[in-house]
């Protein structure tokens, strides 16, 4: 009984409260980007050299798309993808010049949502459907997303996809432990939040390990002893479009 009344009052409250909360929050948000609070901060390191070694390998994409019921839509215009391979010059447009190393020019680099510390998509979402949880993962509340696609326009990495149509006909083997999406909502990599909750490593990392490639490494950045932190301290890594100040959590060893 009270749950629903709370729901109802929230509606009334939000409408009435609109006046009060809006100016205060507006002041806070325009005063500078929300600072990343401490707690776990999942990050991923991608060793592009190892990935390059296994030519034409799509283990990570297949595993991820299978686990999360991501549809295989033929026409590229309405494609939905969470993680996929991109040429190096596309992934790192401002770190390329005509005379770069040949292997680098057509090296396939896995790209996915960077789960930025200061995500522009979260900033622009009019209903806070996409938001950054305490573990640093930028996730989407599929129940609240109104499909305005403002977040896709705001994402500098183009890692968000929109369901232009009902994905289900394009799903051969629907996993029953994870919901699919429906037409009209945005979706993207969620760092396998549901697997992390069960203590497993993300599907793509696990697939990369089973494919004896080991290009993907996943860990908690806030724990200095974690493998990821140690690797970052010892090897030179770069991030995509660092100049935009979004502070992505996916690092690339080139």
């Amino acid at each position: 009984m009270e749950k629903d009344r709370r729901d109802f009052l929230k509606l009334a409250g939000s409408v009435l409260g609109l006046g009060a909360t809006a100016p205060a929050a507006a002041l806070a948000s325009t005063g500078g980007r929300p600072v990343q609070e401490e707690g776990t901060h999942w990050a991923m390191v991608v060793d592009t050299r190892k990935c390059q070694a296994k030519e034409g390998c799509t283990a990570c994409t297949d595993a991820c798309h299978l686990a999360h019921n991501v549809p295989k839509i033929p026409e590229e215009a309405h494609e939905v993808k969470w993680i996929w391979k991109e040429k190096y010059p596309q992934a790192f447009p401002n770190q390329v010049h005509p005379y770069i190393e040949d292997s680098l020019r057509d090296r396939n680099v896995p790209v996915l949502c960077n789960h930025c510390e200061r995500p522009p998509c979260v900033r622009v979402c009019p209903t806070q459907a996409t938001f950054k949880d305490e573990q640093g993962i930028v996730t989407i509340d599929m129940h609240r997303c109104i499909g305005c696609r403002y977040c896709i326009a705001a994402c500098p990495y183009g890692s968000r996809s929109f369901n232009w149509k009902d994905p289900r006909p394009y799903l051969q083997d629907i996993q029953s432990d994870y919901p699919t999406r429906t037409k009209g909502v945005v979706e993207k990599c969620n760092f396998c939040e549901e697997r992390l909750a069960k203590g497993q490593i993300p599907a793509c990392v696990e697939a990369c390990v089973t494919a004896e490639c080991g290009a993907l490494l996943f860990g908690d950045l806030s724990d200095p002893e974690s493998e990821v932190s140690r690797l970052l301290r010892t090897t030179n890594t770069i991030r995509r479009k660092p100049n935009l100040g979004t502070a992505p959590s996916v690092f690339y060893i080139v």
């Binding site: 749950k3 996993q175 029953s176 994870y178 919901p179 699919t180």
Partner: protein, 130 residues
């Protein structure tokens, strides 16, 4: 002394009565008026997350609450008020583990009452349904 247009009035009345009695003859023709959905309860299971009455009335709110908790707060375990066991807050992984056949359980009651929740546009029915 009936007036000239009694005929037309009677026709009007008949149309009204036919429309008003729509549920009666519609259900009669469908022949399912005494049908009551008996839900196929999971074999071997005796207790649900909460009591039967509570679930019949509040399951949609419970699921809403689970959604907010999981998606928004990241809390994934729910301790039942009835018998204090913990459950994983997930429609597909918890509810659907026991109620493997959506058609014979959820849909029967939903169709009977004319409700068409949108949850199943995304959430996946258990494979047992095929």
């Amino acid at each position: 002394m009936a007036s000239r247009d009694t005929g037309r009035i009677v026709v009007g009345l008949v149309i009204f009565l036919v429309l008003a009695s729509f549920p009666v003859w519609f259900s009669a023709t469908q022949g399912r008026s005494d049908y009551r959905p008996e839900l196929e309860y999971p074999a071997g299971e005796t207790k649900c997350v909460e009591s039967k009455e509570y679930m019949r009335t509040w399951h949609m709110d419970l699921l809403n609450q689970w959604r907010d908790s999981v998606v928004r707060k990241g809390v994934r375990t729910y301790t039942s008020d009835a018998h204090h066991t913990d459950y994983d807050m997930s429609l597909q992984n918890t509810c659907m583990k026991c109620h493997t056949n959506k058609a014979n359980f959820c849909d029967r009651c939903h169709d009977y009452v004319g409700v068409s929740p949108k949850c199943w546009e995304c959430h996946v029915e258990p494979r047992g349904a095929e």
